[in-house]
Symmetry: C2
């Protein structure tokens, strides 16, 4: 009968944190089961948190990736000012360059998976920082930089994920103590509890 079968052959294996990943919805959420409860995970916010924590670790251990071929990047006078202001922070994160005044020869970038060419990534970070002119306190500035890097490299709303990618992301996220909110405080996960759902069915 229907009640006596255990669907062991049906569901993906539970990950180390006890969640079963069912799939992706709206190209935005990872749909999981936590026990029998539905748990949704915001893919972008989750990846931001994972990358942010990874960058903090990389910064502490001075991890970076050298470019095989250094890249000439035209950044212009405005972004050159930003570059000078943030030189120490950018070095600490893993960026390395020679400055020719308005043009730089980019030699290394942080140890993150780039979604765009390194020179485009470098410019995007500088542009982002140029909009944070008001941020002066060092701790705040460092945090802003880490967050900007995480945001620029995280998977986006709209990205289609494979089961393998979802599994990796969920495992990475739940290995962190602060898996519940993104670096800016937005929720990463939401439960759809039995009682709430039952109400919709007028049970």
């Amino acid at each position: 009968t229907m009640s006596s079968q255990t669907p062991v052959d049906v569901f993906p294996a539970a990950n180390p944190h006890g969640l079963r990943i069912l799939g992706q919805a709206n190209r935005l959420f990872i749909v999981t089961l936590d026990g029998e409860d539905l748990l949704l995970i915001d893919q972008h916010a989750a990846h931001e948190r994972v990358l942010y924590e990874r960058l903090k670790t990389a910064e502490k251990s001075h991890e970076k990736q050298l470019l095989l071929v250094p890249k000439n990047v035209e950044i212009g006078q405005n972004l050159n000012k930003v570059l000078l202001e943030y030189t120490d922070d950018l070095h600490r994160l893993g960026f390395e360059w020679q400055d020719f005044g308005g043009t730089v020869l980019l030699r290394a970038v942080p140890l993150v998976e780039l979604k765009v060419p390194a020179e485009q990534f470098f410019t995007a970070i500088l542009e982002e920082l140029s909009e944070a002119a008001g941020v002066r306190a060092l701790a705040e500035r460092e945090d802003y930089l880490l967050y900007t890097l995480a945001c620029k490299t995280a998977i986006k709303d709209g990205d289609i994920l494979t089961m393998a990618e979802m599994t990796k992301l969920v495992n990475d996220l739940f290995a962190l103590p602060n898996y519940q909110t993104c670096p800016h405080g937005r929720p990463i996960i939401t439960y759809l509890g039995r009682d709430e759902l039952a109400k919709r069915f007028k049970r």
Copy 2:
């Protein structure tokens, strides 16, 4: 990169009605994707609707299943009164018996998948009907009987379903024109839309 892959190797195949079944939550809901939207299906209400429609069809075509060995059922005087009152309705549904006054020899039952022995099913139906003493109008009475049969034989809240069972139920349900509500008007399906979910993540 994450954005360019199509998870064709990941999700169960879509059923004929375009839904992708992801799994079961709370032993109560079938979790599906309708396009990219989350759609939950109440397993008990869905099966009630499917069985109700099947019984209506069976009634019209006089379908029944003969018992290999007729069963003696002690029903007592109260249920015997119910049996006499509902004789025509019960015959039409596929029940057949010889009445010895308080004891019947049960020979046939409707063409439904029984979850309990036939004699126990027969008694349960009579007991249910004895509580509907106020129902007198023929159409209303017939409907009550069909609904009672559907309810008694439907999968329940708490039943664990395999992917095959979920697929069959969803296919059966969405083949019906009235798949949205159970025979008593409760919702069978509920959408969890992108906007509603995004709000929970303060997007």
